[in-house]
Amino acid sequence: MSLDQLVPLLQQSPLDQETKLFVIDLISMSDDPRFIQDVMTLLLEWKKSDTEAVSVLHEGLFKLSEEFNARQKQLENSQQRVALSVADVIAREEKIQKIRDHLMTI
């Protein structure tokens, strides 16, 4: 991993300045390439987990909204049945009345 990758990572990550300075100091003051490599790996792992957390957050919010929509739709459907039953009653009464009128005519 080169510093080219580290720089944007530090620039774009929501870390506080202290921690960023930690990283810079650690890397600049150590001459052990493996240590530097591992520090960078650690940072990347953190960044990845952090990004993933945000991603899960987005997906979760999306899913929650979908879940709500589905429940709302289901609720509306159940209300729809009630509404239809009212309409049925109106129609039935109309039919009864017509039959009654018809009988009266007869």
């Binding site: 506080d16 990283v23 990347l44 987005h58 997906e59 979760g60």
Partner: protein, 1273 residues
């Protein structure tokens, strides 16, 4: 983009192609490989992507049979499409066959061939193209056709299918298995199932590119087989059930949280491109790339770029919005693009990570670096401690210090069923933590040993001090105080883009917004409208088929569309139906009324339920967001601590100090500059920055700035940080201050507290309890040592003690922030550990080390006598022990003379308590109820023959420290509110001192209030009689001597309690009962304050004002279910209450107006129910006589009265029976009217004071009975 080569003859003979296929393949690939090596990679990748995309578009939109191109620049793109499976390289160079088209053709021809009878001839065109050639080749391979030997151009249907597999051109599973050939051998059931499984698997894989769901068409014929296949698909994780028989979610296209969990290894490896599921499908990825590249987020643009339909493009845009890539739609301007690149970091990170891991020196080295040590408990020896090993216990715990937050993650899990994503958060945090752990074990625990540096003792101390600087500061909560703002900042600190994305995501997840958006998504469809054109500026053309067959269209803006249609279809329907009902000529008025009522109820029910859903949804979002934030904060904390540890372990301390200093200086510079610009500062920049900076810091540091304690505390913490950063003070001073102090205990305690209570609570608690003392001591210590950087042994000891101060329990609040003067009275515990009570006040007190764990010698009866029992105070515990074995502790008289023994016991118990510092005129050591049976305060003879006080953990039998007991909240310090005398009383001045005590002790005030002050001595005798052996002589002993002791005893007992005691219940002549071993506090005159009580519904915490109970609160918020249960307890429900409220409010908006009073009443019922449950729990635990119980009982009565009246007002008289029944239990406690509306619990009062109001209440209750009688009847 492709070039049609007219010179290409379609008659390229397949035979020739076959013969030269290998050669042509090589010819084909050579230029590509040469080209790739010659071209600069980044530009090539970019142009290749664009070309490949154009080919993709072309294939997708036009589905051509072949693509011809010999342009070398396009070869990589074509190769890319071949790799993707979209194209097949034909044997003729520059000719590529569209795989999709080929598959379709094969399907068609195969279907026709299967219908043919054997030996029938199928003709082929005279100049077959590539597709046709390949189709026949494939069918020949399959054995369905064979070339007619008489006419090579024609093919003949073979009698039996050979069912061979193609080698040159793999047949797509869907085509292969879609319709079994009629002449094939009869397959077995298993084979059929396998075929179906393969077929569906291929189809699903294809569908996953565009869709997330898959619907099966199940008929009566294929039901059994299809269901088997579906079960297998689900079992293998290809599909995810949606709870429907036919509809499923495709796992490969589902969001990560929907995918079935895979068993993760202990140390979860980092995600690789192979293992990570793409969060978005290919089409969405393309759309995102287009939007980000062109910076144009309009739907129409996306349509044009990707050749998509409106709805597809619209959906993609909305998904991008939900993902936080785009902003919300705005009619006046295009959606804001919130991201610069995609994927933001994920893909790049993955790639770089894998690259990173492929660069080790040798694989073995990398393996060594990653694997964890076999012995995780291996102590840290990164620093060569050759001269004098430091406290090794401190070092191995560093990893715990590094990741304190992540460890308590499981405790914060809640409601996993509701939010499966939380499990994702957990795995994220744990995955990172495992990486951090590995890092720590490698670099902190010494797998990689730094070069041994010979260090002398001072240097080692400094190193460790720096290493532990954070933990050291956590003593007394200072670290928490310093970290708290950082934590808050971190909690809130997302980057701007992230904030926007999250905001957008939350907005889009909001029910209201989503409902509004639905109008565009599907609402217009249901209403007949559909969007036919999008102009890209938020304006769309919509059209609708009218009943007369004409098509009506209009141009509207999106927001107008939303406004045009009401959002609530149920409400719409209701209005229409109401109109129909009202206008109906065939309904009677009664029937109309009934139907209207039915409609009204339906809509109300809908609104109520929907509100519940909304609330639940909002709560879920809040919790979900909390989890996400918490996860991120934990990750950041772990990272910071890990890096911090690594830095200090590697000796890079100077860098850290410099870094701190640089940051502090920079921040201050920015601040000063702004203030100068705004006119707040008038002097020059340099002077303001440096000179005044020091002045201001010192002001804060010396607690001169700030009005409240909290302000002072924050200022102090801030200035401490500034000082340490600027001067590098920490690395020198703390190392010397800490020395070999018992830092480890403090770290452990802090970590434990943090794990149990969380950062905020710990910080708050630490602040409230420890800051005052810590600030005084630390300030004193720092001031005293500031000018002595080079420490001698004695100086070091002193400083060590000053820094130990945070471990010292806090002094009484009333002493807080008193100036540390020479006249300051030492705190109780200083005296406790100070063997020489004549030490000057204000001196730094040396503590005895408590590292060594000793077993107590107390056993059997002696231990029992020393063990805390119900109602015990320190004196009583001492008295029991002295009475048990008076000769051992120096009683020289006749042990059969009970009077003499009693007198001696009392005197000595008090003396020991004072000498051991557990009691002085400023206060005393209080014992909490939770110490009963768990803690003992034992008296054992010391080396000098004097009694020593030891705190003993009864369960382990080991001696322990007072601090440990305090940490367990077994003991506390009670301090009297008045100004203490300046001198500690000695035994000689005891009489005088104790004469003053009654005037200042709470008990005395209580007695005075009750107007029984004249009975002081009698009262005190009440307590003297509690030792059974002494009862008979209680009134006989010398009052002038014993009254002193007794009074202190009484005082001590009262100090343990939270409330007053009915002194009238105890008279001197009353024979007192022996102390029961496990009797509740209720049997005692002054029970311990309960403070916390665990109940089945959660933890109840009582609040106190001084010693008086002022209320209770629970650590859980009521859920809607709990509210419903509470309402059901009163025989009603929320719906019923709403209706009752509506009846009460005959208004068009009655429903909405009814909501608030209903909720209010529901809350009251719930509160009453919670109190009742707590009361039952207390009864179960035998706490009926505690003041907490009585207060709760009274409050329950108040609430019941309130609820009863509310029921009356709502016309729910039929419910009054239930309320009455519930109220009957507390008839005596029914409050006055003025109490009824009281919400918070009032401070408890002495029983004598309460009795009068109770009588009044009883009278009022009896007066109100006539009102209730008719209802009962």
């Amino acid at each position: 983009m492709s070039e049609q080569d007219p010179s290409t003859k379609p008659g390229a003979e397949p035979k020739q192609a076959d013969a030269n296929s290998a050669t042509t393949d090589e010819k084909f690939r050579d230029p590509f490989s040469d080209w790739t090596t010659e071209q600069p990679a980044p530009e090539a990748e970019e142009s290749t992507d664009i070309i490949a995309q154009s080919f993709r578009d072309k294939i997708k939109n036009y589905n051509p049979g072949i693509i011809e191109s010999r342009d070398p620049k396009k070869l990589p793109a074509l190769q890319q499409l071949i790799d993707e499976g979209l194209l097949i390289a034909y044997s003729v160079p520059g000719v590529y066959v569209n795989k999709r088209k080929l598959d379709q053709q094969i399907e068609d021809v195969r279907a026709r061939a299967q219908k043919m009878k054997p030996d029938m001839i199928m003709g082929r065109s005279p100049y077959p193209g590539a597709i046709e050639t390949l189709v026949f080749k494939q069918l020949v391979k399959e054995g369905l056709l064979e070339q007619d030997p008489q006419s090579p151009r024609n093919f003949r249907r073979v009698a039996q299918t050979k069912s061979t597999q193609s080698e040159v051109l793999p047949k797509p599973p869907s085509a292969q298995e879609s319709e079994p050939a009629p002449d094939t051998e009869h397959p077995t059931e298993a084979e059929r199932e396998q075929r179906e499984f393969d077929r569906f698997k291929a189809r699903i894989a294809e569908a996953a590119k565009e869709f997330t769901g898959y619907r099966f068409n199940i008929t009566s014929e294929n039901r059994a087989l299809t269901q088997k296949v579906i079960a297998r698909l689900v079992q293998e994780g290809i599909l995810i059930s949606r709870g429907s028989e036919t509809d499923f979610t495709i796992a490969a296209a589902a969001p990560p949280d929907l995918n079935p969990p895979e068993p993760a290894p202990e140390a979860t490896p980092p995600l690789t491109p192979e293992t990570k599921e793409p969060p978005v499908d290919e089409q969405l990825n393309q759309a995102i790339q287009v939007v980000l590249r062109t910076k144009n987020s309009s739907i129409s643009h996306l349509q044009r770029q990707l050749k998509l339909g409106y709805f597809t493009a619209s959906n993609l845009i909305k998904r991008m919005e939900a993902m936080g890539i785009l902003g919300a739609s705005d009619a006046k301007k295009p959606r804001e693009i919130l991201l610069e690149t995609w994927p933001p970091t994920g893909a790049a990170t993955i790639e770089t990570t894998s690259t990173t891991k492929e660069q080790p020196q040798t694989p073995e080295e990398v393996l060594d670096a990653i694997e964890l040590p076999d012995e995780p408990e291996e102590p840290l020896d990164a620093i060569n401690l050759d001269e004098e090993p430091l406290d090794a216990e401190e070092l191995p715990d560093e990893p715990e210090t590094a990741t304190p937050e992540t460890e308590r993650f499981p405790e914060t899990q809640e409601d996993k069923t509701d939010l499966p994503q939380i499990a994702q958060f957990k795995s994220i945090a744990e995955r990172f933590r495992s990486t951090a752990d590995a890092f720590i074990r490698k670099y902190i625990k010494g797998e990689v040993e730094p070069e041994p540096v010979p260090l002398n003792k001072t240097e080692v101390a400094k190193t460790v001090a720096i290493k532990l600087i954070g933990a050291a500061c956590s003593l007394g909560g200072i670290k928490a105080a310093v970290d708290f703002p950082i934590w808050l900042l971190q909690k809130l600190k997302f980057t701007k883009d992230e904030r926007n994305r999250i905001k957008q995501a939350i907005d889009s997840a909001s029910p209201i917004r989503e409902r509004a958006t639905l109008v565009l998504d599907s609402g217009e469809t249901s209403l007949g409208w559909e969007i036919v054109e999008d102009f890209g500026d938020g304006t769309v053309r919509i059209a609708k088929n009218m009943p007369d067959g004409k098509r009506e269209g209009k141009i509207v803006k999106e927001y107008e569309l939303e406004r045009e249609h009401p959002l609530n279809p149920v409400e719409q329907k209701k209005r229409r139906l109401e109109k129909a009902v009202m206008e109906s000529k065939y309904l009677t008025s009664e029937k109309k009324q009934e139907l209207l009522q039915k409609l009204q109820d339906t809509v109300e029910s809908y609104a109520t339920t929907l509100d519940d859903y909304k609330e639940e949804h909002d709560n879920k979002i809040v919790r979900f967001l909390d989890q996400a934030i918490e996860t991120r904060v934990k990750g950041v904390t772990a990272l910071k601590e890990t890096l911090n540890s690594a830095m200090t372990a590697l000796g890079l301390k100077a860098a850290r100090s410099l870094a701190y200093g640089a940051v502090a200086l920079y921040e201050r510079g920015v601040k000063v500059k702004k203030e100068i610009e705004s006119g707040e500062r008038t002097e020059g920049f340099a002077k303001e920055l440096i000179v005044n900076g020091f002045k201001e810091t010192w002001k804060k540091f010396s607690l001169q700035e700030g009005e409240t304690k909290l302000q002072k505390a924050m200022n102090f913490a801030q200035s401490l940080g500034t000082v340490t950063r600027f001067v590098g003070f920490s690395s020198i001073a703390l190392s010397e201050l800490i020395g070999e102090g018992r830092i480890q205990d403090a770290i452990d305690q802090t970590l434990t507290a943090t794990e149990q209570k969380g950062i905020v609570q710990t910080a708050t608690d630490n602040f409230q309890s420890n800051f005052d003392h810590y600030a005084n001591k630390l300030t004193f210590g720092l001031v005293g040592t500031e000018t002595t950087p080079s420490s001698t042994g004695s100086e070091t000891e002193q400083k060590v003690d000053t820094h130990k101060a945070p471990q010292i329990p806090p002094p009484p609040k009333e002493q807080a922030f008193e100036p540390t003067t020479g006249e300051e009275t030492p705190s109780v515990l200083e005296v406790a550990t100070d063997k020489t009570t004549d030490q000057q006040p204000g001196d730094i007190v040396e503590f005895e080390p408590m590292d060594v764990i000793e077993e107590s010698e107390l056993q059997g009866e002696a231990l029992k006598a020393a063990t805390v029992a119900s109602g015990d105070g320190v004196l009583r515990i001492f008295q029991r022990q002295l009475t048990l074995n008076p000769e051992k502790f120096g009683f020289t008289g006749d042990t059969s003379d009970k009077k003499a023994v009693t007198s001696w016991v009392r005197k000595n118990a008090l003396s020991i308590a004072k000498q051991s510092g557990l009691m002085n005129q400023n206060g005393w050591l209080g014992i909490r109820g939770k110490a009963i049976g768990k803690m003992a305060i034992g008296l054992e003879l010391g080396a000098d023959g004097k009694p020593e006080v030891n705190f003993i953990d009864v369960q382990t039998g080991e001696k322990t420290s007072m601090e440990a007991m305090r940490e367990k909240r077994f003991i506390y310090d009670y301090s009297k509110p008045t100004e203490p005398p300046t001198e500690l009383p000695s035994d000689e001045t005891e009489t005088q001192t104790t004469e003053e005590l009654p005037d200042t002790s709470p008990e005395t005030q209580l007695v005075d209030t009750d107007d029984v002050s004249t009975g002081e001595l009698e009262n005190t005798e009440t307590f003297t009689g509690e030792l059974p052996d002494l009862d008979a002589d209680a009134k006989i002993y010398d009052a002038s001597e014993s009254s002193t002791n007794d009074h202190v005893i009484a005082e001590t007992e009262h100090s343990d309690s939270g409330t007053g005691t009915p002194s009238s219940e105890s008279t001197p002549s009353e024979p007192t009962e022996p102390i029961p071993e496990a009797v509740s506090d209720a049997t005692e005159a002054t029970p311990q304050p309960i403070r916390e009580l665990s109940t089945p519904q959660g933890k109840v915490m009582f609040t106190y004002d001084g010693d008086k109970v002022t209320g209770m609160r629970m650590d859980t918020e009521p859920t809607s279910e709990e509210l419903d249960r509470a309402a059901a307890r009163f025989g009603t429900s929320e719906t019923e209450l709403v209706k009752a409220n509506i009846r009460k409010l005959p208004d068009d908006n009655a429903y909405w107006k009814a909501n608030a009073p209903t909720q209010n009443l529901m809350e009251r019922m719930n509160r009453e129910t919670r109190i009742e449950n707590t009361i039952k729990e207390m009864e179960k635990q035998g706490l009926q006589e505690t003041s907490e119980y009585k207060v709760l009982k009274r409050q329950a009565g108040v609430l019941k009265g309130t609820i009863k009246r509310a029921f009356n007002q709502l016309g729910l008289e039929h419910k009054i029976m239930d309320v009455e029944k519930a109220t009957r239990d507390v008839t005596e406690e029914i409050p006055t009217d003025k109490d009824v509306d009281q919400v918070t619990v009032r401070p408890s009062e002495p029983v004598e004071m309460r009795r009068q109001p109770v009588k009044e209440i009883e009278t009022q209750t009896s007066e109100s009975e006539p009102q209730l009688k008719p209802i009962e009847e």
